[in-house]
């Protein structure tokens, strides 16, 4: 009977998760959707505590309090610009929790002998969970610049990674096949776990910091799979349902990001993209034709007397935390009767929807944030395109230069506007490490400055115009 009640509670939790995700599909209801999912989680936890046999609540309370406090403090204090690495960390802990659960179940079940399928599930949970954990932590370190964001490459890297993966498969195979025999099983199990932790690290190391969002999203799918696999171990259906939901969500987001960058997942994971940034960039800056720069007061005049301005933000907006300043500038322009819109490229910044979140933080109404497909036809009609710390997503080479690594990626057509103002600190390339011919166009003016500083100065000048 208690079993039935808790199963029903789990079913309710699963339905709430689904409903929550459904509501996430509209900005109107998204916040409620997230809360509903949280309620589902709460119900699942309470049902577990009430319905399952719990000998002592001491460790449970300690663990929950510590975890909740750490999680809450981290979540409430993190800057919006550091969101990607925060998600990575949380995600890693989720995977870690699944792996630990599998380990504990292994210890519990081994003496008594396993049911048919349990060894596979346990081993799968352990590997996936461990890879998720260590991989996410490396992703975090890279984004937080605790280690270099550059791809870390060394000789025989891919070969040794492959070897490691094969070794893990071998050990796991032995563990599963030999699950019902005696022998050094426990040692091998721990070996599999440690090897998986290592795999997570070496898997993420050669991937460039700017590709981390793809990796995080993939690891998100992994943590879902780990939870689902843990559900197979525990025969717990809400774990399976939630894990499957998260797994598919991660897979879809990964796919979307790869599409938007016009690269395959394999290319993202294995090509050490961006390792040669410095070289190409330097070449571009020294040998190229000259660019026209612009002073803040000239920029202010251009903007202030325009009829319509489209702002195309990129990673530089996040890096210089200029979201409030850009909004102030837009407001000032609108007060002068200028029509202002934002052009949001799907992979501008370093996470899917990164620009949306930042600009939303500055209370820019989301109807003003136009998708690439919607805004591109508007550029030819715009007087000024203001490129704010964006680079790759506005690089015209993507349209015509077959040798460019960006070739084929859909871009924002800022170069079709009457005037282009680009705010960035130098002529250095962006994430893809290629030079940008946009900067050398006749109609382009460069404003070399940190994103925020540049905006503030334009604002000041604008007040005088």
């Amino acid at each position: 009977m208690t079993h039935i009640i808790s199963e029903l509670a789990y079913l309710v939790a699963g339905v709430l998760f689904i409903t929550g995700l459904k509501w996430l599909s509209s900005p109107e209801s998204a916040r409620r959707g997230n809360m509903i999912a949280a309620v589902g989680m709460f119900i699942a936890i309470v049902a577990t505590l009430v319905m399952q046999e719990i000998l002592s609540f001491r460790l449970i309370v300690i663990g929950t309090v510590i975890g909740a406090v750490v999680g809450a403090v981290a979540a409430l204090r993190v800057a919006m610009t550091a969101m990607p690495q925060m998600v990575a960390v949380f995600n890693g802990f989720g995977g870690g929790a699944s792996a630990l659960v599998a380990w504990a179940e292994y210890l519990r079940l081994r003496p008594g002998g396993f049911a048919m399928d349990t060894p596979i599930s346990i081993v799968a949970t352990t590997i996936i969970g461990a890879v998720t954990f260590s991989g996410s932590m490396v992703a975090y370190a890279k984004l937080q610049e605790l280690v270099t964001g550059r791809p870390i490459v060394y000789r025989f890297q891919q070969a040794s990674n492959l070897l490691l993966a094969l070794l893990i498969v071998g050990v796991c195979g032995y563990l599963v096949v030999g699950a019902f025999s005696t022998g050094p099983q426990m040692e091998l199990y721990i070996a599999a776990m440690v090897l998986s932790l290592i795999l997570g690290v070496v898997f993420v190391l050669p991937i460039g910091g700017a590709d981390m969002p793809v990796v995080i999203s993939l690891l998100n799918a992994f943590s879902g799979l780990a939870a689902a696999a843990a559900g197979f171990v525990l025969k717990n259906h809400v774990l399976i349902v939630s894990g499957a939901l998260v797994g598919s969500s991660g897979v879809i987001l990964t796919r979307i990001m790869c599409w938007a960058m016009n690269r395959s997942l394999a290319n993202v994971l294995f090509s050490a993209f961006g390792a040669e940034v410095a070289v190409v960039g330097a070449a571009g800056t020294t040998a190229g034709p000259t660019v026209k720069s612009v002073t803040p007061d000239e920029a202010a005049i251009l903007l202030g007397y325009a009829k319509s301005v489209i702002i195309a933000p990129g990673y530089g907006l996040a890096a210089s935390r200029a979201q409030n300043e850009v909004r102030d500038l837009a407001d000032a322009l609108e007060r002068r009767g200028v029509d202002v819109k934002y052009a949001i490229h799907p992979v501008a910044g370093r996470m899917p929807g990164h620009m949306n979140v930042l600009l939303a933080e500055a209370s820019v109404p989301y109807e003003k944030l136009l998708d690439m497909d919607e805004i591109n036809p508007e550029f030819p009609k715009a007087d000024v395109a203001l490129v704010l710390g964006a680079n790759d997503v506005v690089n015209p080479a993507a349209r015509h230069d077959k040798s460019s690594p960006l070739y084929g990626m859909p871009i924002l057509d800022v170069d079709k506007a009457a005037h282009v103002i680009v705010i960035k600190r130098s002529l250095n390339p962006g994430f893809a490490g290629v030079d940008n011919e946009l900067f050398y166009l006749d109609r382009t003016r460069m404003l070399f400055a940190d994103g925020r500083d540049g905006l503030v100065k334009i604002m000041q000048e604008l007040e005088r115009v």
Binding site: L21, V87, G243, Y366
Partner: protein, 102 residues
Amino acid sequence: MELLFAVYIFVLATFVGFEVITKVPKLLHTPLMSGSNAISGISIIGALVIAGFVEEPFRAMLGLFAVVFGAINVVGGFLVTDRMLQMFKRKPGDREARRAQS
């Protein structure tokens, strides 16, 4: 049978996930990522049972860590998502306008 059941549920839930998630607009992909990430903290409910079984100290210790990890993921994940979503607003004053209409 138990296993079959589990496979059934996994397959159906995967379908649901794919269908539901593909409807989320790009605008909300970052919150979606962190929200679904919070849901993956569900393994905390496995951890709770294990941490409660104190008779075997080592296992209980593993459980404790798993609870801590899970709680970080769940609490942090939902809160951070909420913080992000809180910021998505229509035009200021818009909400009042709509309320007045209805």
